[in-house]
């Protein structure tokens, strides 16, 4: 089982109803990943771990990604009649993408020496439907990393044995790794500010110092 298409077919055959998508990657690495629907994610992950030809027994990395709402622009070639002549005109098509949060798992097989296989799980939105199934029961090593994603991104992992904040304190309400996080403003004393810090420090300058 070598290509991602084969892995996708294998998982879809083993888990009826599972919907997997291959997410392309146009960066130089070209590392594609599998997107799985939340309802069947746990069953698909079990297959990835237990299938004798895959045996992805090692979860090397779990991380979160925040995708805020965005307007995507795409150039589309459209045939149009301009002054009686049919011409191909480029038009900019704008589509709105709803925001969501993503958990990304990197799996390797220590037994068969292959990998990584990248699995992505997506939440419905970024506000109230942020639940994903936890894969900690399958890979114990994911426990702290899922807690970290819960802490910094705010994804709630159902089925996690001990879901608490791990880096910030329990009373903390924000999710610092989200793109719209606003950090506390403690830039009162900046002797050598530059760039972003300069902008933040300017609001603290007193009138007589502003020369």
């Amino acid at each position: 089982m070598e290509t991602l298409e084969q892995i996708k077919a294998c998982a879809e055959a083993a888990v009826p109803g599972a919907r997997l998508d291959i997410i392309p990657n146009d960066s130089p690495s070209g590392q594609r990943s599998l997107l799985v629907d939340n309802a069947h994610a746990f069953a698909v992950a079990t297959i990835l771990r237990d299938d004798p030809q895959l045996r992805l027994d090692y979860c090397s990395n779990v991380t979160g990604v925040d995708w805020p709402e965005a307007e995507l622009t795409e150039k589309v070639k459209v045939k149009k009649v301009v002054d009686g002549v049919e011409k191909e005109v480029e038009e900019v098509k704008k589509t709105k993408r709803a925001g969501y949060l993503e958990a990304v798992y990197h799996f390797y097989s220590m037994a068969l020496k292959h990998g990584p296989v990248i699995l992505r799980l997506r939440t419905v939105n970024r506000t109230d439907q942020v639940h994903l199934p936890s894969l900690t029961p399958l890979w114990r090593g994911a426990e702290f990393q899922e807690r970290e994603i819960f802490d910094l991104y705010g994804i709630v992992f159902d089925g996690h044995p001990d879901l608490r904040r791990i880096l910030m304190w329990d009373e903390f309400k924000d999710f610092p790794m989200r793109k719209d996080y606003v950090e506390p403003d403690d830039y009162e004393y900046e002797p050598t500010p530059h760039d972003d810090v300069l902008e933040k420090a300017k609001s603290h300058r007193t009138a007589e110092v502003k020369t």
Binding site: W169, P184, D186, Y189, P191
Partner: protein, 203 residues
């Protein structure tokens, strides 16, 4: 007393000192630091206390594991906002007279992590610091220099009068409020009675 006369008496084996000098001499040569480190600066602090740099030469070899027995807190390393209340609590638990050395870029200002949402931008926002050492991390020599600076400071402390040492003034606080974990930041973000942002003059 006249310096020359004192020197002459010393040659004869007679030592004339004030109680203040004797008291400060004793204190400055037996400063017991709290064995407490937060990050990589602690490794340099440990190195300074071991055979090669040998902090014992300055009477500070006894690193105490309990704040009740320590005189000096060396804040060695990054103070995260989650750790800051514990640092202040440890300081409060130390008996007077007590001193603080803020060791390294992080402890004095937040250092390379200054822009992080989780790092306290200097421990002097909550407790009074006697000596600041820059460096990332400072070498053991720098810590020894800070230590000698502190000894000099102790030696010059007055026990009576209007400019007496902090621990001799009943109106000066010996404990400082421990910050609380808030929903977005520590509450309060700094102690205004201890720390005020320095005015930076710009041309």
């Amino acid at each position: 007393m006249d310096e020359g006369l004192r020197s002459e008496l010393q040659k004869q084996g007679i030592f004339v000192v004030t109680l203040e000098q004797l008291y400060n001499w004793g204190r400055k040569n037996s400063v017991w630091p709290l064995s407490f480190g937060l990050a990589c600066c602690a490794i340099e602090m440990i190195a300074a206390s071991m055979a090669r740099w040998d902090l014992a030469r300055f009477g500070a070899e006894v690193f105490r594991p309990s704040p009740r027995q320590a005189d000096l807190m060396i804040v060695a390393g990054t103070v995260t906002k989650k750790m800051a209340p514990q640092v202040v609590r440890l300081y409060n638990q130390m008996p007077e007279p007590k001193y603080v050395i803020a060791m390294g870029a992080c402890a004095i200002s937040g250092g390379p992590f200054k822009q992080g949402y989780n790092v306290l931008k200097g421990i002097d926002r909550y407790i009074p610091v006697d000596v600041h050492i820059p460096g990332c991390p400072p070498r053991p020599e720098a810590l020894i220099h800070a230590f000698m600076t502190l000894q000099k400071k102790i030696d010059e402390q007055k026990l009576t009068g209007p400019d007496r040492a902090r621990h001799c003034d009943p109106n000066e606080p010996s404990e400082f409020p421990v910050p609380q974990f808030g929903e977005h930041d520590l509450v309060p973000p700094s102690n205004p009675s201890v720390w005020k942002p320095a005015v930076v003059a710009r041309g």
